[in-house]
Symmetry: C2
Subunit: 372 residues, 2 copies
């Protein structure tokens, strides 16, 4: 089994082209990870995911510990086998979901106790239990448990929360069971405060992780705040480790973050918007509920090779969306993921060839529909 390591293949300004080697295969970076919350990327089979170009998927410890249960997944041979995805899986620790989904949360130094959003049952999540769950699930990349404070937050509160997350990160590092080809990522916190971000990054690097995530962004702060924080954080992280911006984002966000040195991303946007009739294209998002598509024989995106664009008209896709047909969710999710993966491949090639700035300019010029 290969070691877990990050190979930096090329840089172009701050943008990086790399490859993450794992026990379950390589991941070319910059990489976008489709979100497979409950052991399935919604409306996609594993075959469809591979065809769309995905090399790694994300799953959620919070959802899986509640349903079907981490012990059960372990008994069934681990998450790769359970969801028929032999490639790498990064598992989110559950810190964010506990804050955004669970009810009656009590957080203290030991960890968090919460009620399931499904049936109200009480559960405890400590850094040690979190590592155990991800081990049971067989995460290729395990994420530390962190506290995800709500936005906006005062500086003192942000500092206290970040420091607790750093103590939890150290406990995670101790509890995590190392295996060849498997990795553990720390998560930088500290809201949008550059000093807190630098402190957090420094503490994590001191503990030592296989990769570093940037958490606590895309929670309501402005875009300039987000990008500034990404820049400050990337500058404080070691060159030889992958950097993962959690929960981001729109195509332009990915481009902006890659320009600042980020290597990995996850976001529900392409999958969720695929289920609500929104398609992503080089010129911006397209709402297929719009009546102007009703008679349009053109494909969604002329340059796209996905099955939705290859086989169907906008008129057909609109019809499916309007009728709430499952095939509409399937085709638009496939297209959106294909578009995201194609976008990443384009940026990887541009960084390799030293033409990322030109690529970025062309991308911005091509956006004819505003993204927001």
């Amino acid at each position: 089994m290969s070691d877990f390591r990050f190979e930096l293949l090329a840089t172009d300004g701050a943008a990086r082209r790399g490859r993450l080697h794992t026990a379950h295969g390589p991941v070319d970076t910059p990489a976008f990870m489709p979100v497979g919350t409950a052991a399935t990327v919604k409306a996609m089979s594993a075959d469809m995911l591979r065809a769309a170009g995905a090399q790694i998927v994300l799953a959620n410890a919070y959802h899986l510990m509640l349903r079907p249960g981490a012990e059960r997944v372990e008994r069934l041979g681990g998450l790769h086998r359970f969801m028929a995805w032999p490639g790498p899986i990064l598992i989110d620790s559950g810190g964010f979901q506990v804050m955004s989904l669970a009810a009656r949360r009590q957080i203290d130094e030991d960890g968090v106790v919460f009620s399931s959003h499904l049936d109200g049952s009480r559960h405890a999540l400590t850094p040690e239990r979190c590592m155990e769950i991800q081990h049971q699930l067989d995460a290729t990349v395990t994420m530390v448990l962190d506290e995800c404070p709500a936005w906006p937050i005062g500086r003192d509160e942000a500092a206290a929360s970040m420091r607790r997350s750093m103590r939890w990160a150290a406990r995670c590092r101790s509890a995590w069971r190392e295996r060849p080809g498997y990795g553990l990522f720390g998560i930088v916190q500290g809201s949008v405060d550059p000093e807190l971000r630098r402190e957090s990054a420094g503490r994590l690097v001191e503990i030592g992780f296989d990769g570093y995530a940037i958490g606590g962004l895309a929670v309501g702060e402005t875009k300039p705040m987000m990008f500034e924080t990404v820049e400050v954080t990337c500058d404080a992280l070691p060159v030889e480790r992958p950097r993962y911006l959690m929960g981001v984002g729109k195509p332009a966000d990915l481009v902006g973050a890659i320009a600042r040195g980020v290597d990995m991303f996850d976001c529900v946007l392409p999958t969720r918007s695929g289920r609500t009739g929104q398609a992503w294209t080089r010129s911006g998002p397209l709402n297929l509920r719009n009546a102007r598509h009703a008679d349009d024989p053109a494909p969604l995106d002329r340059g796209c090779a996905c099955p939705a664009c290859r086989d169907h008209s906008r008129a057909y896709l609109r019809h499916l969306v309007r009728c709430n047909e499952i095939l509409g969710a399937m085709l638009l999710t496939w297209h959106n993921l294909h578009f995201y993966q194609h976008l990443m491949a384009g940026m990887r090639a541009a960084i390799e060839h030293g033409t990322f700035q030109a690529w970025r300019t062309a991308f911005a010029a091509g956006l004819t529909s505003p993204e927001d």
Copy 2:
């Protein structure tokens, strides 16, 4: 373009092995047609349908005339192109849907006026308009407009309704625009009365159709009544034309009807039950919501080559169903259609080899779960 014709390849008792030649390719019979109500077989792409073994799909004129509209589908190049299904499409006339879905129906000799179940808008359907709609949709097989009376029904009412349907059938025959490789099917009515069925079949044969459907069954009558009516009707139909039993059914119903000389079927059962967590297997139906599957690493059906059985455990499928994941509907629909197509292929081979009775006995012996 080839002529529309039915080739009878072999018989075994009353069971028939045939091939329907159409402008859009051949259909091996006995054939099961997946139901693609609104220009999509729910939760299946055209590629998935082909992989599951389907050669022909059914669509509904009623649904398509309301949404997206037959004129629109025609402008977009017809239904085959619209739904990316180049193979044969049989289009149900809408008679059954008008009775089962539409509100404020008024039926007279001319046709039916009804309110859409979607938005209450008023629509008229005459035999002539029905032929026009199916022409616009580009139906490979067009079905005549018939009146589908509710069950139970008195003999006089059944006779009057059947005779009106026969007058409509004659008007459909006159209005239908013949094209090479395209066919028009009449529909035998007459409830469960053998004399009325024989009268109906005789009138249709006199008019002359490319195939004959048996309508008005599977509406509440008992199984013995249904099979007796199928037998009486098949006996009254010409050997050289295909026979299509509409809206049937469960695997054992297909077997019983094929034994009595039926060639074609459609039913929402495999697709609808795939969306509610029910899987069909040789030993009977399986409810994946049942907790006994929660830890079961075995595939749904050991002998099955579909992706759900090839890649996944019952435990995973149950998890998807329990979480209402779209992938659950996709995989179970795929499995159910694959199972139905595999069942038909098995019967076709048995009829060819003159071993249909042995096949039927083995099928009945294999049913360990009751189907009802």
